[in-house]
Amino acid sequence: MNELVEKIGQCVERGKVNKSSPYPNDMKGMDGADEFTRQALEAAVGPDAILQVCNEGMQRIGARFSRNEVFVPELLMAAKAMHAVMVHLEPFFKTGSIRAKGKFVLGTVAGDLHDIGKNLVRMVIEGNGWEVIDLGVDVKPAKFLEAIKNTPGCVVGLSALLTTTMVGMSKTVQEIKAQFPATNVIVGGAPLTMEAALKMGADGYSPDPQGAVAFLDKVSVANITQ
């Protein structure tokens, strides 16, 4: 059983979705995340054990992305493999036998239509066991505020690519903090730095998705111990 579970984790890390997927080249024709997950569940492996190895696989690929050893395509394929596992695990989430670590409200700020960075963050954070509420691109402050109201205890992530939307991002952070001072906000995007993030009032900044996971893990531990 352990061997099957480990294979699922490897498939997630390598981005091997299923048997028919041609990616990665050296795993052509082999079973992928889809097949191994089905086999594991048939062999009565617990869904939480499967989720655990997937989270570890996503963490490994996320860390390699942070170290610039792999790039966007590898991360996207890992997320796709993770998704293939999640299709099998969905029923267990519905019955409550496994649960997400917490909720993360995410969106690209008003005036900015770029979604690649935001989607990468979503995939990696989902892959690490969080439920993500994705508000999309060009998200006005009011929409963030409404989502936070409807998602008690959530953490919020704001993304921006354009240098011109950093001003709007700052306003969004301030509006969120004015209404929900206890809500943690993390920001990310090409034009940003930690200094700029803290200046606009955010609680955290990360240049890559894995840093956002580390931030979420940190604040969720803090919330539990409060």
């Binding site: 966007v72 996207l76 394929m77 690649i116 011109t164 700052s170």
Partner: protein, 294 residues
């Protein structure tokens, strides 16, 4: 139609224009507004930008059509006006450039990642053909496929432009320095991989744009030159990495600093030099003085 390649013979160094996007915002384009729609609604502002670079001494200017692919315009519900908006962009720049300056038709990325299967190659290819055709109809001399990061998308755009218009095609990629000091695009493409692929697809001028300032551009050009000693290289450099200061976005590199560095960039192998985000007519004027006076 004039040949940019011919104008680069005899080791001529030519000067391109500066920023469009950040310049449009300065003239009042709001975040979330479609820049290409300004070719119709704010024609005089777009013309003023184009003309300001000609007046600064640039040999060539681009067109306000970076986001003019149908896939990109779809965000604004303007995909059906792609031909109209691109043609208008070309007409405006041609009017500002007159007959003795080059106009480069700008084609930027669609924002779609092909390998994720969100859209077919054919849809993107047809969109690039439509955009390139409209730019040609509006009077551009050359197509400039710019700010690319994925090989598949860049090569589709180049092939579409070559096949549908027959014009010379420039292709520039945007590289970032990794933590171990190599240059890669966000999709993991190295300068060496870019050079071979875009030349095979039909680009006759290659290069790099955007980025984090002049110093890194010099390193990237050196790397391209070490692989390819012949193909002309175009560089459109940002005025440094933007910093967020007192509620405003500021680009740190001044016209003086850029001008002081431009000879190093040319020595490293660049044949066409201009600016990207954050650069202004003053930056271009600085480049003109530094290059022409020497």
């Amino acid at each position: 139609m004039r040949s940019l390649l011919a104008a680069l013979k005899n080791n001529n160094v030519l000067i391109s224009d500066g920023a469009w996007g950040t310049f449009l915002h300065e003239r009042g384009l709001q975040p979330g507004e479609c820049p290409e729609l300004w070719n119709i609604t704010h024609r005089s502002d777009v013309f003023a930008i184009a003309k300001s670079y000609i007046d600064a001494g640039a040999d060539m200017i681009l067109t306000n059509s970076f986001g003019g692919s149908p896939s990109k315009l779809e965000h604004y519900g303007l995909q059906d006006r792609a031909a109209e908006l691109n043609k208008a962009a070309a007409v405006i720049s041609r009017e500002a450039a007159g007959v003795d300056h080059f106009v480069l038709g700008s084609i930027g990325p669609t924002g779609v990642i092909l390998m994720m299967g969100q859209v077919s190659e054919k849809v993107l290819f047809d969109g690039f053909c439509l955009q390139a055709d409209a730019l040609k109809e509006g009077g551009v001399d050359v197509i400039c496929v710019e700010t690319m990061s994925a090989l598949d998308e860049a090569c589709l755009a180049i092939r579409a432009a070559r096949e549908s218009t027959g014009l010379e095609v420039i292709c520039t990629f945007t590289f970032e320095k990794t933590i171990i000091g190599e240059y890669r695009t966000m999709m993991g493409v190295s300068p060496a991989e870019m050079v071979q692929a875009v030349k095979d697809a039909g680009a006759s001028i290659i290069g790099t744009n955007c980025g984090n300032g002049f110093d890194q551009m010099i390193e990237i050009v050196r790397e391209i030159r070490s692989i390819d000693p012949i193909t002309p290289i175009l560089v459109h450099a940002n005025a440094g990495k933007p910093v967020f200061q007192d509620g405003k976005t500021v680009f740190p590199e001044t016209p003086e600093r850029m001008a002081a560095k431009v000879q190093d960039l040319i020595k490293s192998g660049a044949n066409i030099v201009g600016g990207c985000c954050g650069t202004t007519p003053a930056h271009i004027k600085g480049l003109v003085n530094a290059i022409r006076v020497h």
